[in-house]
């Protein structure tokens, strides 16, 4: 088994065994469900909104070159620089270059999963730049030297006690079990950083082609501060984030807030159209927009799964996924977890090494139901399984299923197999639950049913014999 697949098995085993942890995650999400449903109910027609959102993203993704070029033209006209990064290394190198050329010493960041994807912080720190995560959740996991647990809620897996211990240890602050006090501790630390940083790095939720703007959605205000005070602003985004028109935001901002956080609107939704313009009292002198491919064009080329590029990174699919809720964000072992991560990671990082994420699903479809842009998530998991079986078939499985379909086509063989099953079942009973039990994966936690004395086929033949 590939290491990544084995890692997933052992991590998911560890996390599913931790019942208090699972209960904590469930509790953390329960408030979100209630508020999400309230906000959905406020829409005149949530399903209609999803349809329109899906169609808008379809338009954007299927004309990606057109909209990216329009975006570039409009934002560069106001003095922004646009850098097209074919891969992670190119993006990192460009940002490093900007930092070096401008004698940057301290960098402040607002939340961007794309920067996690390209391991930007590591690269910056290795080159001697101080990097501070300003989003509270990101700041917390940064101090713990951990990756974010969830697309939208990076520290949802931590208790206030753990956070208090962390702040005590790393910041020398007083112990407290009040979330408000803990937040204020972080607020004070960050205020200095905003005021002193030379460069602010942000993500981007949407890039508007029509007006050449990037739009950032947040609740804390840290992205606004990251992009207001430092003299350089670097905005990082995947190429698929582009939207055709400014007014598309009037649909996407409320949908992102509702699906992602159970809010009507998040606190701050800000559009940046370039660096400080002549006559403006503040704002960065330089704005650099880094457009990242990093194999997104490979997903684009897969027409069957292209809609996955419409993802607005709301996290709604993670929030409803029973696998995610029971294994947690770290089991996935890669930047993007949950259903969307399971769908796209084989495309972004290789099918062979990552197809197991598509197998680790019961295909319940809750993700597809939750997705505000109607990505056909659970069917894409099936397609990844098919693609994976073609590209790298598991010899045992292929043999087994080959035999299976032969058997299903030959009633005689089928009856023989069942007959054998009936003979061996009592034997299984003897080793049930032990190391010799072939059904151990099942019987460890569940009773396995007895084969019926006579199958329905046999009973029907006996009772209704002659009738077809």
């Amino acid at each position: 088994m590939a290491t990544q697949a084995a890692d997933f098995q052992s991590l998911s085993r560890r996390y599913t065994a931790d019942k208090p942890f699972r209960a904590f995650i469930q509790k953390a999400l329960s408030g979100y469900y209630r508020k999400r449903d309230e906000n959905k109910a406020n829409f005149q027609d949530w399903q209609g909104a999803r349809d329109l959102a899906a169609e808008t993203k379809y338009e954007a993704v299927n004309h990606l070159d057109k909209y990216l070029l329009e975006f570039e033209e409009k934002i560069t006209a106001r003095g922004a620089k646009v850098f097209w990064a074919p891969n992670a290394e190119a993006a990192r190198d460009y940002i490093l270059k900007v930092a070096r050329e401008n004698n940057v010493r301290s960098i402040i960041k607002s939340k961007t999963m794309t920067s996690e994807e390209i391991h930007l912080n590591d690269a910056l720190e290795k080159q001697g730049f101080g990097v501070f995560e300003s989003d509270l959740g990101e700041y917390i996991v940064q101090l713990r030297k951990e990756a974010p647990f969830h697309l939208v809620f990076p520290a949802m897996h931590l208790t206030r006690g753990q956070i208090s211990d962390l702040f005590q240890k790393e910041l020398g602050s007083e112990a407290t079990d009040e979330p408000e006090k803990l937040t204020m501790i972080a607020r004070e630390v960050m205020r200095r950083k905003y005021c002193e940083a030379d460069m602010g790095i942000s993500g981007t939720n949407f890039a508007v082609a029509e007006t050449g703007m990037i739009s950032i959605t947040e609740n804390e205000g840290n992205a606004r501060l990251t992009t207001s005070l430092p003299k350089i602003h670097v905005a990082l985004l995947g190429i698929e984030k582009v939207l055709p028109r400014l007014e598309d935001l009037s649909l996407f901002l409320p949908m992102l807030a509702t699906a992602g956080a159970g809010q009507t609107m998040t606190c701050y939704n800000t559009m940046y159209a370039g660096p400080r313009q002549p006559g403006e009292p503040d704002g960065p002198e330089q704005m650099h927009v880094v457009l990242l491919d990093n194999r997104r064009t490979e997903l684009l080329a897969d027409a069957e799964q292209r809609d996955a590029l419409g993802c607005i990174r709301c996290g709604a699919c993670l929030n409803v996924c029973p696998i995610f809720k029971n294994v947690g964000g770290y089991s996935y072992g890669t930047t993007y977890g949950g259903p969307i991560g399971s769908v796209i990671t084989p495309h972004l990082r290789g099918l062979k090494d990552w197809k197991h994420l598509s197998a680790a699903s019961s295909l319940c479809g809750a993700c597809t139901e939750a997705c505000p842009v109607k990505i056909d998530l659970h069917h894409h998991l099936l397609q990844n399984r098919r693609n994976g079986a073609k590209a790298a078939p598991n010899a045992v499985e292929k043999f087994t299923f080959g035999g299976f379909s032969v058997m299903m086509g030959r009633p005689g063989l089928y009856r023989l197999a069942v007959g054998l099953g009936r003979i061996f079942q009592p034997l299984q009973g003897l080793v049930n639950g032990t190391i010799l039990d072939p059904l151990k994966a099942w019987t460890g936690s569940r009773r396995f049913p007895k084969l019926a004395q006579k199958s329905f086929h046999e009973q029907w033949k006996k009772e209704r014999g002659g009738k077809r």
Partner: protein
């Protein structure tokens, strides 16, 4: 200079050439909706907003208060000044920041505390040490209970987010029904010369990052006051 521009564009074009993706399964006819709403299809599905100004003001008041915005409807500029003076006294303000603007100038006539202004540039620490930032706004959005700010209407980027208390002065004529109307407004007003910063503020700063428990004042202002003058 442009890095992998040609590479990426080529990849995109190759990926899309003769390779159509299935359209999303939708159950609603978007063309119908679009035509019906003057091309603003989203209005058919987004939360309803009342058509009259009093309805919109009521909706705005209700939603913004639910978000812990301190909303004051006042009949005159004079009454707005009284509310502000009371706020300053109760909160123990020592110094505030603002920008030059018709509405803020009117509001701050006779205001006794020291005022830092942003429009000609400013030192960050001067603003950072203010107790409140007073700004105008572009519009108020009834549908979301939020306000829209921009460089011009809010004195730059930092004034409305750095001081711990943000006070907005607005007129009822600035109320618009929804986000679509807000975007229409800025497009009409700024045409092709958009400010480098504009956006929506929907309540005081908040976070749920610790056990999903709501805390106000994460990084942005802990308090947001909206003074709406007739």
């Amino acid at each position: 200079m442009n890095g992998g521009r040609a590479i990426i564009l080529n990849r995109i074009r190759e990926a899309l050439r003769n390779n159509p993706a299935p359209r999303p399964h939708t159950s609603h006819s978007q063309t119908e909706a679009s035509a019906h709403q003057n091309g603003h299809a989203q209005r058919e599905w987004l939360p309803k907003v009342g058509t009259t100004l009093p309805e919109q003001i009521d909706l705005f008041a209700k939603i913004s208060e639910g978000l812990k915005t301190e909303f004051h409807r006042v009949p005159t500029a004079e009454s707005a000044r009284e509310v502000l003076a009371k706020l300053a006294a109760e909160s123990g303000w020592k110094k505030i920041a603002t920008h030059s603007h018709h509405d803020t100038d009117l509001l701050l006539e006779g205001f006794s505390l020291p005022i830092v202004r942003t429009e000609k540039g400013y030192a960050i620490d001067d603003i950072e040490s203010c107790d409140a930032g007073v700004t105008g706004c572009e519009v108020l959005v009834a549908q979301t209970g939020g306000i829209m700010v921009s460089v011009q209407s809010a004195g730059g980027r930092a004034l409305s987010v750095l001081p711990p208390h943000h006070v907005v002065i607005a007129r009822t004529s600035q109320m618009v029904p929804d986000l679509t109307a807000a975007f229409d407004h800025v497009k009409r007003k700024y045409g092709k010369s958009f400010p480098s910063f504009m956006g929506f503020i929907t309540g005081p700063s908040r976070t749920g990052d610790i056990e999903r428990i709501l805390v106000l004042g994460a990084h942005g202002p802990k308090r947001l006051t909206v003074l709406l003058v007739d």
